[in-house]
């Protein structure tokens, strides 16, 4: 008897796989994909490529790493709980089962590192990509994701000469706070369409009675479609007081696609006959869609599960939503293959 999507997800969840520790889950993925009748290969960075009919020109791209934080894996009253149930082993499980049932060639690419530096997606960029890609991320089962914000991880560093803290003088912490206030003017983040700069970590100072010589903050910058990352970074740098500098780490551009493009249409056309109304969604965060977009003809993201539960300790997905998503992915793959002819 073929594996059910609930069983696939439970097996993937049992293999805890925070970013960088994906080995055990990779073995499970290979086993499960073979059990579903798919051909499997693993690439140089650990991405698992499960194919049917030679792989085809439509790819379903998910990820099997998760944020850290092991959670008990349970199935209760039609819901499956566990780390990654929503983001994104649930969508990936539906993709694998959809590929096994699809009457058309398809590849499921299960990537590593999406929650980190997108190692898996960056590796894909070094090879050939198909024209049509569906990204597997939670979209509340009827949402079709047509936009993600881009962003960059920044390290803000300030330094000052130091001195006795009872006396007047410059403090690196004061400079850091002033920098943060100025950055907020460039990236206020009050709405989706405004760049945001969230301070996520802060360090500084050497002793209770010494004016701080060094202070540092981690900043998660996010920018909406229509904004240019390089020009926002330039504005942020120009806003800094003397003694402060910015280092840019991970970065991705924003992405926005037209709802009438082939992949969003294929997803909507699979949702409608099942009696549900598709919704278009734009996300505050980013995904591998941001990186892959520039290299494919059409792309959109879709998946079962409530995105608001992603990265929380309350992650769960409803089995009916997983099953619904199987039909949506399958329908989209078959439609896009017809479209390619």
């Amino acid at each position: 008897m073929p594996l059910g999507v609930d069983e696939v997800l439970l097996r993937l969840l049992e293999a805890y796989s925070p970013t960088g520790r994906e080995d055990e889950a990779r073995e499970v993925l290979v086993e499960v994909s073979r059990a579903l009748g798919l051909n499997v290969r693993v690439d140089g960075v650990g991405n698992v490529l499960a194919t049917k009919g030679g792989g085809g020109r439509v790819w379903l791209v998910g990820h099997y790493d998760t944020v850290p934080g092991r959670l008990p894996v349970r199935k209760i009253d039609g819901r499956i709980y566990g780390r990654g149930a929503v983001d994104a082993k649930g969508p990936l499980s539906s993709m694998l089962v959809a590929a096994s049932l699809a009457e058309a060639p398809v590849t499921v690419a299960a990537l590593v590192g999406e929650e980190g530096d997108s190692r898996g997606a960056r590796h894909l960029l070094s090879g050939e990509l198909p024209p049509y890609v569906v990204i597997g991320e939670p979209s509340n089962t009827t949402g079709v994701i047509v936009a993600y914000r881009g962003g960059a991880h920044l390290t803000l560093r300030c330094s000052a000469p130091g001195g006795h803290s009872s006396s007047p003088g410059r403090s690196a912490i004061d400079l850091l706070l002033e920098s943060i206030m100025r950055m907020r003017e460039v990236a206020p983040g009050n709405a989706y369409d405004e760049p945001s700069a969230a301070v996520t970590m802060i360090r500084g100072g050497e002793a209770p009675n010494v004016l701080p010589r060094r202070a540092e903050a981690s900043i998660d910058l996010r920018i909406p479609p229509g904004h240019d990352l390089a020009s926002i970074l330039e504005k942020l740098e120009r806003s800094l007081p003397d003694g402060c500098s910015l280092e840019v780490g991970w970065r991705v551009p924003p992405v926005s696609v037209r709802p009438g493009d082939p992949v969003p249409r294929a997803l909507m056309r699979s949702i409608i006959p099942m009696g549900r109304k598709p919704r278009l969604v734009r996300k505050y965060g980013s995904s591998d869609m941001n990186l892959l977009h520039a290299r494919v003809r059409s792309i959109a993201a879709y998946g079962p599960g409530d995105g608001r539960l992603a990265h929380t300790d309350g992650e769960f997905v409803d089995v009916r939503d997983l099953e619904f998503a199987v039909e949506v992915y399958k329908g989209a793959v078959e439609y896009l293959n017809r479209f390619l002819r």
């Binding site: 709802p259 009438g260 409608i272 919704r279 734009r282």
Partner: protein, 56 residues
């Protein structure tokens, strides 16, 4: 096949295989539109705005 944008009145090209319930964007004014069918003809009406969601 064409239909009229109910917001700006511009003609909007519909794909040959269009399905009632599909959502698309008016190329002239950018409004999000929903395809519906009336008496065998496909027409357009204003759709819900694109939703915003957290995460990823």
């Amino acid at each position: 096949m064409e239909a009229e944008c109910p917001i700006c009145g511009s003609p909007v090209e519909l794909p040959d295989d269009v399905m009632a319930g599909e959502l698309l964007e008016c190329p002239s004014c950018g409004a999000t539109l929903e395809v519906y069918e009336q008496d065998g003809t496909f027409l357009l009406r204003e759709a819900e705005e694109i939703g915003e969601d957290w995460g990823e």
